[in-house]
Amino acid sequence: MRARYPDVFDRPAAARLAMPAMIVAAFAILIYGLVDLDFSPSRFFAGLSQLGWISLMMIPPDPGSSLPIYLKALGETLSIALLGTTLAAVFALPVSLLAARNIVPSNILRFPIRRFLDSIRGVDTLIWALVWINVVGLGPFAGVLAIAVSDFGAFGKLFSEAIEGADQKQVEGIRASGGSPLHEIRFGLLPQVLPVIAGQVLYFIESNTRSATIIGIVGAGGIGLQLAEQIRVLEWQKVSFLILMILVAVAAIDFISGKLRFAIIGRRAVA
């Protein structure tokens, strides 16, 4: 057996050394990073004890007298997530058709569209929020636009991948019966990709609830604004209450969208 599988029993020294070498290199960079980012143990433990105090002061969570304001802010956050995602999906659908290989075979046409979507995606939602605040002013509307733009990039990519994964037989069948390219898309392609797209949109509404909670930190509305303010004035009980609210809201959205996703995809699978 040893003679037949020499590699298993006597691995060459290079192969044996590769893994530890990689691990050592990874940790060397880690140590360098810790030093470069001034991670001194004393600072770390001082901060840790401070953090301990902060968490002690967070108990019990208490909204004070501003519960209505927080509820309104939470509503704002949910609105931002819903509207932003919907807008993004509506605009991304036609563009994603243009970015899909089986719709637009020309590489030259597709390449700039893909790179365009990539660069939108490369910029974080918070940066988009800052840009939109410059355009429409502070407030939730800037948040909606920020989420719409940054998701537009993500959706464009995801949708076009779904479209590329679709079966071409239906499309060919419609072409054979004399359908126009628009017919091909409407009756051959859309029924296949719609469940996938619906699932993704629902998933994004969920994840955008999370993003929408933070864009308020730069002033684009929603519960993040309240959170950032309460953190800055060190009202820790209110902070912990707000964090709890966010956790509950996200869990609720998770639950609802899970049900909905199942309903949409399940119904499609049956039909």
Binding site: I29, L30, G33, L34, D36, L37, D38, F39, R43, F44, A46, G47, L48, Q50, L51, I54, G75, E76, L78, S79, I80, L82, L83, T86, D118, S119, G122, D124, L126, I127, L130, V131, W132, N134, V135, V136, G137, G139, P140, F141, G143, V144, L145, R210, S211, T213, I214, I217, V218, G221, L227, A228, I231, L234, I243, I246, L247, V250, A251, A271
Partner: protein, 294 residues
Amino acid sequence: MTVAVSILPEQQLAALNAAYRQAVARRRLRLLVGAAIFAAALVLAAIGAEVNLRTLFTYFGNFVSYFDRILTLDSGQRVWTDVGEWLWGWRKWLKMLGETLLISYVGTLIGATFAFALNFFAAENTSPSPWLRFTVRRLLEFARTVPGIVFALVFVIAFGLGPMAGVLAIAIHSTGALGKLFSEIVENADMKPVEGIRSTGASWLSCMRFAIVPQVTAGYASYALLRFEINVREASVMGFVGAGGIGQELVVAIRKFYYSDVSAILLTIIVTVFIIDITTGWLRGRLFGKEART
């Protein structure tokens, strides 16, 4: 070959047709009701988010002209006509960018280490006890649901301004996200090796080390790389709350209306994200390729 298609009598056919039409009508009604609820939710959301189409149309010019402005130098020329002037601060920016990458690297590695330590307790098939599993799961869920930047805000107050807060925030968020993904990989692992090793009288720890870890490392590495990619993006905004990295430069440039600097910094961020995307994609392919060969 002839196929016998039985043609149903008129009466039966009519009944079936009616049933079919009814089913279609029911489906359409359901779709319509769903669409109506969705539209109502949208309208409600539009009111909640203070959407004002008039503002959008009046200021849409601003959006276009904003890009016009950030692509114009102080001298009034387009930025690409004088690259040296446009990227005047490239030394400083590259340094900040390096800091951003370092923040995400260190954060991801610490997060991945913690996730690695915790995920065996969170997975259904390897957890030593149900209550431990429950606690670890809730802990990971908490770390994942609270956005990284919120942790950063709190840590900036506890640890002071600077990249340390950013690293810790990213580490905690990564622990939550990776812990969940890792434990899912473990749940999909083959349990036969574990049984084999347990039958030799080995402890829980050696079962994990010799039966589970060899199966899951490739998946772990792949997810950790993906997380690193996401964390680079996240670290680029950590500076907004004072937690280090290029975000600090960017927020200053945006707030102070240094237009051409905004586009220059954005360009460096986008290029970096591209490079990281491509490199990690290539690395992931290689790791998985290697795994497939052995």
